[in-house]
Symmetry: none
Subunit: 197 residues, 4 copies
DNA sequence: TCATAAGCGAGACGGTACGTCGTGTCTTACG
DNA sequence: CGTAAGACACGACGTACCGTCTCGCTTATGA
């Protein structure tokens, strides 16, 4: 599974020109949000034709989703600090670092996701599965180290940590910070994982 | 605080006609999603003029947000079952019941929220604050009953339960069900609230 | 026929308040033209309700036509200078004096006239007939004085003088002036009326 | 001058597609009048987008004026029958033939003309100047043939014939017919042109 | 002197057209 | 042959205006 991740990350999914399109898309997305982003603007900034963009991504939505997935792909590395608490804090910090800039993108992608099942699957396979695998690694390592009990890990709840953090980023309230992450790890996630079943 | 909530809920924020607009908007939103919803369609279904809608809500976005806020307002009642666990399960069930139908709306509203601060504030004061108050009541009652310790409640993390559930509804994965709620309450929230500090 | 004219002019067709509406309408018409004139603006300037206007004139067009007819009514007096040439020059001067300010109104009224037959009849009976009568008087007086021959007057062509002048006012070319009127009378109308048949 | 006219007429001012737009506009204009004509309808009949129309003519008014100018352009050919009387009768007949169908258009165009100077100039250069040139040719030919005296032609009054006829078409009275034209030529225009100065 | 009605201001309303803008398709010309 | 440039059909947005309507307030009359 690890090798797949590496492969997936290493494989040149997009050419340099395509990367440029996605980068511009991502930037404009963060600046204007989904609705205010226009394909014409992306094309103009890239000095490309709209047809060139549509040849690769059949709709604005596809373009945006691809840009999002590309934008968050890089961070998907297991921290492997040797301690569950440190691993969780590292993951939380990583999420905070990226979700802050990508919040408009995430909002847009979530909004578009309700439309086409294809997009749902793309999101599932290209983003969530990777995250799930990353988390599994961290938790399995903790089990191997004896820090937690294997049956304390509920597969339905693996994403409480990232889920809550992302939720917080989507809200209009002040975004979570390092202290939020610490509290979440120490007062929620670890108590849950180390509870007596 | 309870009286404020009741007042806020009882106060006729919108006239009957306006309520009708919001109801139609909400229904069409659930049916088509944000982008496929057209103001013309809302007007036609309400046998109203577009100008009438735009007089109240200066843009499609404002209309949708108002519809959302109105649509979720009703559920904001503390369950008060006498047991913290039951209260939390009730709240979780409530969220599952409403978030399922409102998921497209929530996605749309979140997406639009990144645009204008005014919208942010509306979301904050008209939606989140009410939820916070509701949660506070439940937790304070539990403290009074001695079920939990007052300092186990971290004010930054009060919304882990609703936050995670909503997050799950936004995802393309299968939505949370009663078992998810139970697991979340028993294996995450309660261990956190009853942990030894 | 003369008495009818006098009666028509003397009869208080409109109350003082209604006159005020018509005056404002006429002014705004000259300022903005027909399309840019809004009933709301007339109502606002008159500090009246739109309903009050619509109670009297069932449509914007009726209001405008009434204003126009009222605006040009006053000038409909035979000059009676004792000389055909002087009479014609007087009429021409009169037309120049009024058509200049009323050009936008005339344009508007003509445009609207193609729509409803009712308006056509109003224009015919309330405006053209009066002008025709005025002209007849002048020409008959000239016949009586022996200046022209009765059969030189073609009833189809009685309005060449006003017609050409009005036409000129409708055009974007510089409007006719006193010299134009003189040339028209001396070089066209009089040669026609005094030609050998 | 003749060559200029021919050039102007031959020059493809509008593409075939644009001509189609103008033709449809002209037809709908004659059917419904200016106000009842909608840009949407023109676009629908032409299976075109509104944006396509607005790209060429920035407003409904511009579209209508262009359609009018195009619609009357074709007829601007000197008759050249060899006799002044026949030439005038031919021109008069031409005007009657076209002004009848174009009356609503002319009314609309005149009405809109009072708005923007640009429109005024377009009307002047693209329509009136051509007519003036045509008339000059006819009259100069008559002078060359010795039918009339050069100084009997007042340049201010060149358009009495078309002006009066158009005026008559604008009125709600029955439109001029062949007999009207004959009377106008024989009893007004020719007496004026052949008078002793 | 008070009440009941008629008229008016203010302005919301349904409807409809305008003019703008964005998406996704398509054509043209260039390298 | 792929691409930049951009025209195009479609359709929604948000605005403006017309003509209708309702709501209060005022005024003018009847008890």
């Amino acid at each position: 599974m690890t090798s797949e991740l590496i492969d997936a990350a290493a494989r040149p999914r997009w050419s340099a020109r395509e990367q440029e399109f996605l980068t511009i898309t991502l930037r404009l997305l963060q600046e204007h949000g989904y609705d205010r982003l226009t394909v014409d603007e992306v094309a103009a900034e890239a000095k490309a034709s709209k047809a060139t963009l549509y040849r690769r991504w059949p709709s604005k939505t596809d373009l945006v989703v691809a840009a999002f997935i590309e934008g968050v792909r890089i961070q998907a590395r297991p921290p492997n600090t040797g301690s569950l608490r440190e691993d969780l804090l590292a993951i939380g910090g990583m999420i905070c670092a990226t979700a802050g800039t990508h919040a408009p993108t995430v909002r847009a992608v979530l909004n578009e996701i309700s439309r086409t099942p294809a997009l749902r699957e793309a999101m599932q396979s290209e983003f969530l599965d990777e995250r799930h695998a990353l988390f599994n690694e961290v938790l399995e390592a903790a089990v191997r180290r004896g820090e937690i009990n294997a049956d304390a890990v509920n597969p339905e709840l693996w994403n409480v940590l990232p889920g809550y953090l992302v939720f917080r980023f989507l809200l209009p309230t002040p975004p979570p910070d390092a202290e939020t992450v610490r509290a979440l790890v120490d007062e929620v996630v670890l108590p849950s994982l180390t509870r007596k079943t």
